[in-house]
């Protein structure tokens, strides 16, 4: 578990420059500029409809921006097809869990392991019996606490367990940048605590862009926070700076003195 934090002043791991995206008359992303350093946990907050998921989708390649650039390690990946982004080290988890419903829990994670393995085009070997694919999957399940459910089908999982699985899949991609879209969505108190511990454990090892609504989590985990309102970033700073910023309070946090 290496600490990936960079020297101050080093080039950012992930950089978004002047990103714009409109759907007809709706400007979903307006001149967004964000940097995420290696080892940094950068949170993205804002009211519903602020365009957070749209932004994540552009970084992960599902949507193409109208203008602007997305750089990973200095390389321009703005127009890179979605299926190639995992191989440059980008992992994205979804707000609504995207799982293989007919496969088992372990199968699901193994799919992520396999995707980066040289064996992924093999037409002949038995995938479910390959230790090089199954071992890392089991380890990832241990990390998120799902090891005892490895052989269940996804349809048999509770919502919270699906969110854990969603995270386990992202962690198995050998990524250097994690885009986490509301990993806590729909979790109960106990599950939230467990997820918070897992996320804390990830700090420093990846460049993380985290979209979340749970303010306790955000303020506890984030190194920096960007506040997005109507597709526009209105402030970027440390948690203390964000908490004390008047514009942010008006727009989002509310006057909850």
């Amino acid at each position: 578990m290496t600490d990936a934090r960079q020297q101050p002043g080093a080039a950012p791991k992930l950089e978004i420059r002047h990103l714009h995206k409109s759907f007809g008359a709706l400007a979903a992303t307006q001149d967004v500029n964000i940097t995420v350093q290696a080892g940094e946990l950068h949170a993205l907050i804002g009211p519903n409809g602020a365009g957070k998921t749209t932004l994540i989708s552009q970084i992960s390649g599902e949507l193409m921006p109208d203008s602007g650039h997305i750089l990973l390690d200095g390389h321009d990946i703005t127009r890179l097809p979605a299926f190639k982004r995992a191989s440059v080290g980008l992992a994205r988890s979804f707000q609504i869990s995207q799982l293989y419903n007919d496969f088992t829990v372990e199968d699901n994670v193994a799919m992520a392991v396999q995707a980066q393995s040289s064996k992924r085009f093999s037409l002949w070997s038995a995938a479910r019996k390959d230790p090089s694919l199954r071992e890392p999957a089991r380890e990832a399940l241990e990390r998120v606490g799902l090891a005892d459910r490895a052989n269940l089908r996804v349809s048999e999982l509770a919502h919270g367990q699906k969110r854990q699985l969603e995270l386990a899949i992202a962690l198995s991609l050998n990524a250097s940048v994690l885009l986490l879209d509301e990993p806590m969505a729909g979790l109960g108190a106990e599950e939230s605590r467990r997820m918070k511990d897992i996320l804390l454990g990830l700090k420093g090892q990846y460049a993380i862009l985290l979209v979340e609504h749970d303010m306790d989590i955000v303020f506890a985990l984030a190194d920096r926070i960007t506040v997005l309102v109507y597709g526009k970033p209105i402030f970027t700073g440390t948690p203390e700076e964000v908490r004390s910023n008047a514009a942010v309070r008006d727009a989002y946090l509310g006057r909850e003195e």
């Binding site: 992960s60 599902e62 979605a82 299926f83 190639k84 982004r85 995992a86 191989s87 994205r92 979804f94 995207q98 799982l99 293989y100 419903n101 007919d102 496969f103 199968d107 193994a110 799919m111 992520a112 396999q114 995707a115 980066q116 393995s117 064996k119 992924r120 085009f121 093999s122 037409l123 002949w124 070997s125 038995a126 995938a127 479910r128 390959d130 694919l133 899949i169 991609l173």
Partner: protein, 322 residues
């Protein structure tokens, strides 16, 4: 032994002893029926690979069936005329012709798949249908090869040391090939490639997110599937000693799909059952009434609406799928 394995063993056991039963009961017709089952099963299994595991609803697979048949028929035709085929003297050997049929079908599958996979959903269904229709009309227009009437073949291809003219022996050869293809397809669907392909069927968005390249997997599966269907076509032409454009008609594609669904989609083994049930029903009911479709139509509808797991799913239980 699991229930699924039991059912599979039973299926192959029945197929294995079929000619013996036929001999004993002096019913050579049974062997003919069996040969038809097995050949269609080979085609259905190939289509199940893309339909049941890759969610590619190809309405054009009959094209490959037709190609396989016509490769056999055209070579036989030119040899019969004493002509060469673009400089090649031709061959009667199954070891040359059957792989050739698979190769031609695979090549057409490559072109057709590459173009069709640029679309998805209903457009994919329609464009695969369009390509198959184009081939159908080309075959109908090829008057020198019989056009609408089709092309007769004087004798079956030759395998060294084996008399393919004997119905029982020919049946066993077809059964062996079908069994081999089943084995190959089973390995494919449980391989990393197969898991990735099934990933596209279950959640394409997630699959792309993990880094699987859609075209590479889908096209490869499509080409393999085309080759298998082409082999089935070649075997059919040998069986019937005849090839006609109907082999490539869109209703033939529909028939293959119906077999897959009746037997159980996405199981490979189900296609064997499906072919047997479809053809068996056709035989049994045609003897009774010319309008056997009066019953098959509703059966198909009922299976689709209420029991997608098909016959194999019903027999083999919950774990019939992989």
């Amino acid at each position: 032994m699991t229930r699924k394995n039991l059912v599979v063993t039973l299926i192959f056991a029945i197929l294995l002893v079929l000619p013996i039963v036929a001999n004993v009961s002096h019913n050579s017709f049974l062997v003919n029926m069996g040969t038809q089952f097995v050949i269609y099963a080979l085609a259905a299994i190939s289509l199940d690979l893309v339909l049941g595991y890759g969610a590619m609803v190809s309405f054009g697979h009959a094209a490959f069936f037709g190609i396989g048949g016509y490769v056999v028929a055209i070579v036989a035709f030119h040899m019969g005329q004493g002509e060469t085929i673009m400089g090649w003297a031709g061959s009667e050997s199954a070891l040359a012709i059957w792989p050739l049929a698979m190769l031609v079908a695979a090549f057409v599958g490559l072109v057709m798949g590459f173009l069709s996979l640029r679309t998805s959903g209903v457009q994919f269904i329609m464009i695969t249908l369009a390509f198959a229709q184009m081939l159908y009309f080309v075959l109908v227009g090829l008057v020198i090869y019989g056009g609408d009437d089709g092309l007769s073949i004087t004798s079956r291809n030759i395998l060294p040391g084996i008399n393919l003219d004997d119905p029982g022996i020919f049946y066993y050869v077809c059964l062996a090939l079908m069994t081999l293809w089943v084995w190959i397809c089973r390995r494919i669907v449980n391989s990393p490639f197969g898991m990735a392909l099934r990933g596209f069927q279950q959640n394409e968005r997630r699959n792309v997110n993990l880094g699987y390249a859609p075209l590479r997997y889908k096209l490869t599966a499509f080409v393999i599937s085309a080759a298998g269907t082409g082999l089935a076509g070649a075997l059919w032409a040998n069986y019937a000693l005849y090839a006609s454009p109907d082999m490539a008609a869109w209703l033939k594609s529909g028939t293959l799909m119906a077999m897959i669904v009746l037997g159980g989609m996405g199981t490979i083994y189900g296609s064997i059952l499906g072919a047997a049930v479809y053809l068996g029903l056709e035989q049994a009911l045609t003897a009774w009434t010319e309008n056997w479709m009066l019953f098959l139509g509703p059966v198909l509808i009922l299976v689709v609406l209420f029991s997608k797991r098909g016959l194999f799913g019903w027999l083999a239980g919950r774990n019939s799928h992989d």
